[in-house]
Point group: C2
Chain length 461, copies 2
Amino acid sequence: MAAIHSISTVEAARRKLHEFLGERVSIAQSVREHHSHGEDTHPPALPDLVCFPHSTEEVSRIARVSAEHGLPIVPFGAGTSLEGHVQALRGGISIDMREMNRVLRISADDMDATVEAGVTRKQLQKALENTGLTFFIDPGADATLGGMAATRASGTTAVKYGTMRENVLGLTVVLADGRAIQTGTRARKSSAGYDLTRLFVGSEGTLGIITEVTLRLHAQPEAVTAAICAFESIEDAVKTVIEAIQLGVSVARIEFMDEHQVDAVNRYSHTGLKVKPTLLFEFHGVSQRAVEEAATMAQELAAEHGGLGFEWRTTLAEREELWKARHDVYYATRALRPGSRVLTTDVCVPISRLAECIVETRVELDQASFPAVMVGHVGDGNFHVQCLLDESQLGEAAEFSERLVERAQAMGGTCSGEHGIGLGKKKYLEHEHGAGVDVMRAIKRTLDPENRMNPGKVLDI
Amino acid sequence: MAAIHSISTVEAARRKLHEFLGERVSIAQSVREHHSHGEDTHPPALPDLVCFPHSTEEVSRIARVSAEHGLPIVPFGAGTSLEGHVQALRGGISIDMREMNRVLRISADDMDATVEAGVTRKQLQKALENTGLTFFIDPGADATLGGMAATRASGTTAVKYGTMRENVLGLTVVLADGRAIQTGTRARKSSAGYDLTRLFVGSEGTLGIITEVTLRLHAQPEAVTAAICAFESIEDAVKTVIEAIQLGVSVARIEFMDEHQVDAVNRYSHTGLKVKPTLLFEFHGVSQRAVEEAATMAQELAAEHGGLGFEWRTTLAEREELWKARHDVYYATRALRPGSRVLTTDVCVPISRLAECIVETRVELDQASFPAVMVGHVGDGNFHVQCLLDESQLGEAAEFSERLVERAQAMGGTCSGEHGIGLGKKKYLEHEHGAGVDVMRAIKRTLDPENRMNPGKVLDI
C-alpha cells in the first residue's frame, strides 16, 4: 500500500514517541508487517509506526502525538481478528497493547478483576488459579481481553454466562484527544447515566483505545459434566437445541458441528466420532446431582429427536479431550486443505429460524466448488462457516458469504454474532440498522472528529 | 412554575398537534398537573401540553412539532419515578405513552416479545399467561416497559435474570428531529456496530423517546421454592448473602429487610414475622430436587451465621403471601406515618462492602429525627432507604442521602442502582464518572443539539 503520510511527518512523530517510549516505538519493516493484518483474508495494510506502551498515560501521550501529526491509531491485541480490524488502512500508528499485560487486581469477594488490555485470556486463567473463580469467555484464539472487549467477543459459554457485553463491568479508555476516562463502577448494576461501558464494548477501536478492563468473574462450578450426541440430520440436532433452551435446561455449552466439521476433527484430533451432525454439551452446577439432572433432560430430548447415542463425558480427562477437539476446529479445518486461504463467517439468528438457516446454508455449500464446514454456538443462534479456498475461489466465497448474511438478516438476525464488523462487514451494517447507522456515525464524529481512531472500520463517516 | 413558553407558541403547537391527535392533546390544568410529577419529593413542574399518541409515527410528528416550536418533550409512563424524571422543568410537551399499550408480538419459540412502550409490567404478565414464559423484571410499581427501559430498571430478580440492560434486545426510538430508528435485532447476541440499545436503555428520555421495546423472556421455572430467615444482626444476614453469591448458589431472589422494615410489613400485611434483620429467598429450577438442593445450601449458610430458623415457603399460597408482603413494603412504610413525605434512596456497592455500607447507614439512621427503613436487593449489592418525613425534615434527609451516596461511591459503588439520575442525582454523576460525563454530554449535544429531550435530567449541557 502506498504511503499516505510523508516521511517527514512520520519521522517527526517517531521522534516525539521516542522521547517517552524509547526503543518501544518501531519503524522496522518486519514489525510493521506483523501489525498489518489479523487472521482474515483481507489484504494487509502497514502502519507507519508501531508502539508498545506500558501504561494508560503512555497511550494518552501516543494519542496526543497522533493528534498533533494527523496520524491514525489502530489498536493491536493478539492479532487474531477475523474481520480486518487491525489493518492500518491509512497508515499511522499501530498500538500494540501486549506489553500492557498486568493483572491489576483480583477480588475473590466481589468476583471481579481489573486487567490491562493486553492480558490474554489464558494469562487471566492462570492468574485465577486457586481463587475458585474463572472467566468463561473464550473466543477460541488466545485473544487479549482488550481486543475481546473491543469486538464484543463471546464463544462457547455465552449461552450460560453471556458475552463481553454482559461480563465487562467497566473500562479505562483513551479518547482521540488523549483524555483517559473510566466507565462503569464496580457495582453489579447501576442506573447512573449513559452506559458508556456498553458503547465502547464492540466499538472496535473506532471511538477510543481500551487500556484497562474490569471483568465479572464466575465461581468455578462445583460439578461439571459433558456429553456428545450425533444425529441423522441437522434439523434433528438443532431441534434438540431449541427445545433444551426453551425448556430452560441449564446448559453451559451447547455446540453444533456439521458432519464435515466432525470429519475434520476426527482427522486432526483422532477423536473417532461418528461423522454426522453432532452436538456437544456441557453442564455446570452446584452438585453432581444437579448437573446429572440437566444432562439427563438433554439426553431425553436428544432421544426424542433420534439422537444416535448420548455419550456422557464425566471425567475431567474425557471432557478436556472433547473440548480440546472442539477448541481446535479452526486448525482441524485448515488441515483439511493445507495452505488454503480460510474465510470464516459469523451470523446469528433468532433460535426459531436456526435450523432453517443452517440447513439452507449447508445445501448451498454442498454445491460450492470449495470445501466448507459449519460449527456453531447454537444455543445463542450463532454459527460459523469456514471455507477453504484457493485464490481463484475468493470471489465465489465472498458471494456465498454475502448471501448467508442476507439470509440471516432476513430472518431477523445479525451479520455478526461475535467477530465484529471490522473492514469485512461494513456494507451489511446499513441494511441491519438503517437510520441507526446515522446515529452511530454522529457518535463517531463527535468522539473522533478527525477520524483518526481505527479509520475505515465499522462505518465510514 | 412560571410559564416559559408564550401563550401563542403553545397555542400554535396545540393546533398543529390537534390536526393529527384530535382530542388526544390536552391543555387542561388537571391533566397538566397529573403530568407534573412522579412519586418523588421534588417540586412538580407542569408541561404546557399533554399528548396521548397511538403510534411511533404520531410520536415522530409530535417531535417535529416540538422542533418547530422549540418546545421540550418529556416522556411520561406510569408516573412512578422516584427521581423527578417526569417533571416538565421547562414546560413543553409531556408525551403520555400509556395509550401505546399493545403487545405487538410474542414468540414462544424465541422467548421474546415486542411491546409498545406504554404496556405495563402487569399487562405483559397477563399477555404471557399460558405461554409458559414470563418476564421477571419487577421494579415494584406497575411501571411501563418503556419507562423501565428508560431508567434501566431492575428489581428483586436481577440477581438471577439481570436488569433491563440485559433483557432489552432492541428498541424503537424517536429522535429529537422526529426520525425513528430501530436498535438491535432479534438475535440473542451481535457484534454488529455500536450498542445503541444499551445507549438508550437508561438514558431517561434525554436522547430520544422509546416507543417500542423488544424484550427477552424466560421460561417459567418448572419448580420454585422460597424461604425466610431472621438474623440477630445485619452483618449476619448480609454475610449469608455474600457467601451464597460467592458459592454460586442459584438464588432467583435474595432480599434483605432491616428490623424496622419487618415491623412495618407486620403492621401492614399482618405477617407476624420476627422483628429482626431478615432475608427472603426464592429459588427457581428445572425440578423440585434442584430447588430444594439450592435452598438447603442457603439454609446451611444461614445456620452458620446464626439464622433464627430458616422457614421454607413451599406452596404457591405461602410464596405469594411472602412476596406480596415484600412487594408492598413501599405502602407498608408509608403507613407507618400516614401523610408524610417519603424520600426513597437507592445505592449499589460491590458486595464485599455491602455489610459495612448497610451497617454504617443504619447507625446513622438510628440517630436521625425521622423514621427510616432499609430494604435491599442485596444479591446485587443494591439497597434502598425510605425516610418518612415532615416538611421540616426534608433538609436533614437530603443531607443523609448525600452522605449515603458519598459512602457508596467511596466503596466503588454507584449513586443509583436502579432508580436513575433524573433530577435528584445529577450532582453525583460528575463524581462517579469524572471526565466520562463530558463524553455523555457530547453524545447528548450530538443527538439533541437544541436540548429539547427531557431537558435538565441526567446532566446539564
